[in-house]
């Protein structure tokens, strides 16, 4: 990769700044002109998506795009660089932002939510930070955007402004800021100072594996600090902010807590494993298996917890924690196919999980129901929604011909490359657990009969809620059939 041609281009910055411009428009339009306000959100999302997509051909041709913003320290630039994994993540986030915006319009208006201007502004801000993480070229840059994301999502998590929101917000910020300020910051500072031969930039291309100069113990400490420091990745025991954050409105849960925020966490962890430590260093590290064990434990435990959750959004949240474990596991496997599979899983899981969240939100908008046990027979009233739910669930479980299959396949292949048979077994068990906690929802909805069958209030959610979820459900299929492009982007040959 280090020989890749470098193209200087301002487009990454545009993708970063489009949400800011959108935010100015959103605030200017304000509560008095809701249509204009949402138009601005659309424009910002579309511009961002268009810019990101326009970068795809360059990356597919094997080059990377760079843009230098400013010098953080004399020895560290704030550098944007678009490479395969980053672009894949950016594509997913920006495309799903369009869908989410459409969905949010229906959802927020359907529930007559307050302070929608604030909601859309900070939503845009979060997406800018997400782009920043996706396009960062070194550790410090990624840290900046990571913190920006933590703070800018706080008003979204506490959007309801009631006691529950306050508790959720406290847990959210408590976990994220504690880990990032107390674990991540020392680790970063350690990396930047203690490397011999002066300061490093911790660039993701140039300085891969330089941490290998540390002593073994230091390496393990650093690895753990990073793994838990990026608490957005939801590795247990730093996971409990995520169920707490589900008090946010569903569009936030959907995009941020299934796609942007948590994926930023695992993406950062992936960067650390793949582009700071590098496969070579990890393979030679004696204690490295422990991270795989932690990730596996997270997968299994969270799946078991998900089984017992009756609140649909909480169940999905624990499912998300498990799926994030896959990605961390893939990154920790430290083989090409494993890490490629991890990046692919970011996209695949995002598409599947956002569908599930959309469905949960659509059910809430249409019927006001939050609990799995209340969903009996709802599938007959809301066939489109529940159909999409089925597709999303199957994709998350990992059945062909849906996207989730590809990534799990590569994760398993990566594990086999390393002769880690137990990882494959973990994957199998967890897939089975996925079946147990996701399919009953659909089954209940379609095959159980409800006592209130003739309740006339049961109907499909507004079209602006339904269309996005159908689109993302379709996306799950598309990801399966276009997987060769994605594989090429992450540097794997199909």
């Amino acid at each position: 990769m280090s020989t890749a041609a470098v193209v200087e281009d301002i487009r990454p910055l545009i993708a970063l700044l489009a949400p800011w411009a959108g935010m100015i428009g959103i605030i200017w339009a304000g509560e008095k002109r809701p249509n204009l306000r949402e138009l601005f959100t659309f424009i910002a999302a579309s511009v961002q998506a268009a810019v990101v997509l326009s970068l795809v051909p360059i990356i597919l041709s094997g080059a990377v795009v760079e843009f230098h913003i400013w010098q953080i320290f004399s020895y560290v630039p704030m550098l944007l660089r678009v490479d395969g994994p980053g672009l894949l993540f950016a594509c997913v986030a920006s495309l799903l932002w369009i869908a989410t915006t459409l969905y949010a319009v229906g959802y927020m208006r359907g529930l007559h939510e307050h302070a929608q201007t604030r909601f859309y502004s900070f939503f845009a801000l979060s997406l800018s930070a997400t782009m920043g993480v996706a396009f960062s070229a070194n550790l410090l840059t990624i840290y900046f955007f990571y913190e920006m994301l933590s703070v800018s999502t706080f008003p979204l998590v506490t959007h309801m402004q009631d006691k529950e929101a306050r508790t959720g917000g406290r847990t959210y910020l408590g976990y994220l800021l504690f880990t990032s300020l107390c674990l991540l910051l020392p680790a970063l500072s350690w990396c930047y100072v203690w490397l011999d031969g002066g300061h490093l930039t911790m660039d993701f291309i140039e300085d891969v594996g330089k941490v290998g100069h540390f002593s073994e113990a230091t390496q393990i400490v650093l690895l753990l600090l990073f793994t838990f420091g990026f608490a957005k990745a939801g590795i247990m025991p730093a996971h409990s902010w995520l169920p707490g954050a589900m008090v946010a409105p569903t569009p936030v849960s959907a995009l941020l807590h299934a796609v942007a925020v948590v994926k930023v966490g695992v993406f950062c962890v992936y960067r650390v494993y793949a582009d700071v430590f590098g496969a070579e260093v990890l393979a030679n590290m004696s204690g490295e298996e422990w991270t795989m064990v932690i990730a596996s434990a997270t997968i299994i435990i969270s799946s078991l917890v998900a089984l017992s959750q009756d609140n649909l959004k909480r169940r999905l949240a624990f499912s998300t924690i498990g799926q994030l474990g896959y990605i961390v596991l893939g990154a920790a496997i430290a083989t090409d196919r494993g890490q490629g599979g991890a990046v692919l899983h970011i996209a695949m899981h995002a598409c599947g999980k956002i569908t599930l969240f959309f469905c949960a939100g659509a059910i809430f908008v249409a019927t006001g129901k939050k609990y799995v046990s209340e969903l009996r027979g709802i599938g007959r009233k809301m066939p489109l929604t529940m159909g999409a739910f089925m597709i999303g669930a199957l994709s998350v479980i990992g059945l062909p011909p849906l996207g989730g299959f590809i990534s799990k396949w590569y994760l398993a292949l990566g594990a086999l490359d390393r002769d880690a048979m137990w990882v494959v077994i973990v994957l199998l068990i967890s897939s089975l657990l996925n079946v147990f906690y996701l399919l009953p929802v659909a089954v209940t909805a379609f095959f159980r009969t409800s006592e209130t069958e003739n309740d006339p209030s049961f109907k499909e959610a507004p079209w602006s809620c339904v269309v996005p979820l159908l689109l993302t459900a379709g996306g799950c299929f598309l990801l399966f059939f276009w997987s060769d492009v994605l594989l090429q982007m992450v540097g794997l040959n199909p």
Partner: protein, 519 residues
């Protein structure tokens, strides 16, 4: 000519005299006079900074009275020296002074009606004293200027309510003890070296290698303890919270960002320039002991800050904690720690300014700074709150505010010296600050009250009256300085390298350990 350096001090002095004289004519003249003299002073300090950067030795020396420096040890006349550190601090002092002067119009009229000439006179003399402290190269002149700053400080605080006067008394006693101990220490130095010039003293110490002399050791203790008292380092902090909390709001806006920081500058100056690195760090036990004291100080101050229910008082304890940061940055004894310490002096001045200006505006508009009075203020004063939060984020250390960068260097310094106790307390207090500020944000943004109950029905109804949610910003003379301060916090963060470059140039003259990897 390098006359600018003395104009920095003279402009506020002349402004103060003009204010006192103009009181007979019209009280309305005081504000414009103060603003003009502060603008002039800032202009002079910017020039001094530029000259210091451009000069080949990176410092400007100005002998008042035109005496020569040829003697060894030097010290016939009083010297004004602006090396890069002094010039930076001067710039901070005058800049903060200008912003607070701009801000002072409304609160001074309200809080101290009829006393404007005296208020502005004392106010400008305070800035004059602080800027002089940052510039002077003479140990005794430093004492005089410390007293100028201290006396104006007492006056500015006691001007307020009776409660403020009661708070001032402690400040007077402790401040006098601190300054007198410093004076005594300077006396010891003079006794052993025969000069008062800072560089001269170090030259003698090095020439006669006075490292083990008991008198010098005690002189160091006296000077250091004196300065620690003046900067409200933890066991000696008792004067600070009450004094800043009950002072008129403009006073606390000026004193809180500057006084403690300038005293930390004095400590750095004493450690590096007067006693020298070898004496301060290697022939005393302080390097071993101080980080532990600092750790205790930070933890205690942070915990006390947690217990407060009033913004100004909380901020006062935060300052005590921040003082711990900076003192620790010096005493972990390495290159990065000192960069962090000096940079934190600058950034802490800016962010404390931001927070106190915000608190002043809240006091002005709501007549209270108690936490309970803050419910839902964001709807009423969004711009003020944004400015206030930027200061808060900087205290927490979130990028790209300047607080992040200073904390970065402090952490790096702690790592290089392997001072884990300092690191851990730094992390601890960072988390305390997260709690402090997000607790405020909950009050302001979520409008919850003490018991955590939401008084409204949710979904946008926060239980606020119409009056509480109507957009009602502070007057522009208060709001604009706050926003300027907030943007300075961001700008120093973004262009931190420009500042750190100057600090590095300054520190390279001293032989400091740089850790494992420094080139």
């Amino acid at each position: 000519m390098s006359d600018h350096i003395v104009w920095i001090v003279l402009f506020p002095l002349m402004g103060a005299v003009a204010c006192a004289l103009s009181g007979a004519l019209s009280k309305k003249l005081c504000y414009p006079i103060s603003v003009i003299s502060m603008i002039a002073s800032v202009w002079a300090s910017v020039h001094t900074m530029m000259q210091a950067i451009e000069s080949p030795v990176h410092e400007i020396s100005y002998i008042l009275g035109g005496w020569s420096l040829d003697l060894f040890p030097r010290g016939v006349g009083i010297e004004f020296r602006a090396d890069l550190l002094g010039a930076l601090i001067t710039l901070v002092v005058t800049g903060v002074g200008l912003i607070v002067t701009l801000y002072s119009k409304v609160p001074v009229q309200r809080e101290t009606p009829g006393k404007e000439p005296m208020y502005y006179g004392l106010f400008l003399l305070q800035i004059c004293g602080l800027a002089g402290i940052a510039l002077t190269g003479d140990a005794f002149n430093l004492y005089v200027l410390i007293e100028v700053a201290a006396l104006t400080g007492y006056g500015l605080i006691a001007l307020g309510s009776n409660r403020a006067a009661a708070a001032t008394f402690n400040y007077v006693i402790l401040g006098t003890i601190g300054a007198s101990l410093y004076l005594l220490g300077v006396g010891y130095l003079y006794l052993k070296t025969g000069t008062l010039n800072m560089v001269g003293i170090r030259e003698v110490i090095e020439a006669q290698s006075l490292y083990d002399s008991p008198a010098m050791q005690v002189a160091f203790v006296l000077v250091l303890v004196g300065i620690l008292i003046k900067m409200a380092f933890f066991p000696f902090h008792a004067w600070l919270p009450n004094a800043y909390c009950h002072a008129p709001s403009t006073t606390s806006c000026l004193l809180a960002p500057l006084v403690t920081k300038v005293m930390i500058y004095v400590m750095i100056r004493m450690v590096l320039t007067v006693f020298g690195v070898e004496f301060s760090f290697e022939s005393t036990l302080w390097t071993e002991v101080m980080p532990w004291l600092v750790a205790v100080a930070i933890v205690c101050a942070a915990v006390m800050a947690l217990a407060q229910r009033e913004i100004k008082r909380m901020l006062a304890y935060l300052i005590v904690a921040e003082v711990g940061y900076m003192v620790g940055g010096v005493w972990i004894y390495n290159y990065y720690g000192l960069i962090g310490s000096i940079f934190h002096v600058i950034s802490d001045a800016c962010m404390t300014l931001c927070l106190f200006l915000g608190a002043g505006i809240i006091l002005e508009k709501c007549r209270t700074t108690h936490f309970d009075g803050l419910r839902g203020l964001f709807a009423k004063m969004p711009l003020t709150m944004i400015g206030f939060f930027i200061g808060g984020f900087s205290i927490i250390g979130l990028p790209p505010t300047c607080g992040f960068f200073s904390k970065w260097y402090l952490i790096t310094g702690g790592m290089v010296s392997e001072r884990w106790e300092y690191m851990v307390t730094l992390m601890f207090s960072t988390m305390v600050m997260v709690v402090l500020f997000f607790r405020l944000i909950e009050r302001i943004h979520l409008a919850v009250d003490e018991s955590g109950k939401n008084l409204g029905k949710g979904h946008g109804d926060l239980g606020l009256t119409e009056e509480q949610t109507r957009f009602d910003e502070a007057p522009l003379t208060m709001l604009v300085p706050l926003l300027i301060a907030a943007s300075i916090v961001m700008i120093i963060g973004v262009y931190n390298q420009e500042v750190v470059d100057q600090i590095e140039v300054f520190l390279r003259a001293y032989n400091l350990p740089t850790g494992v990897s420094y080139k």
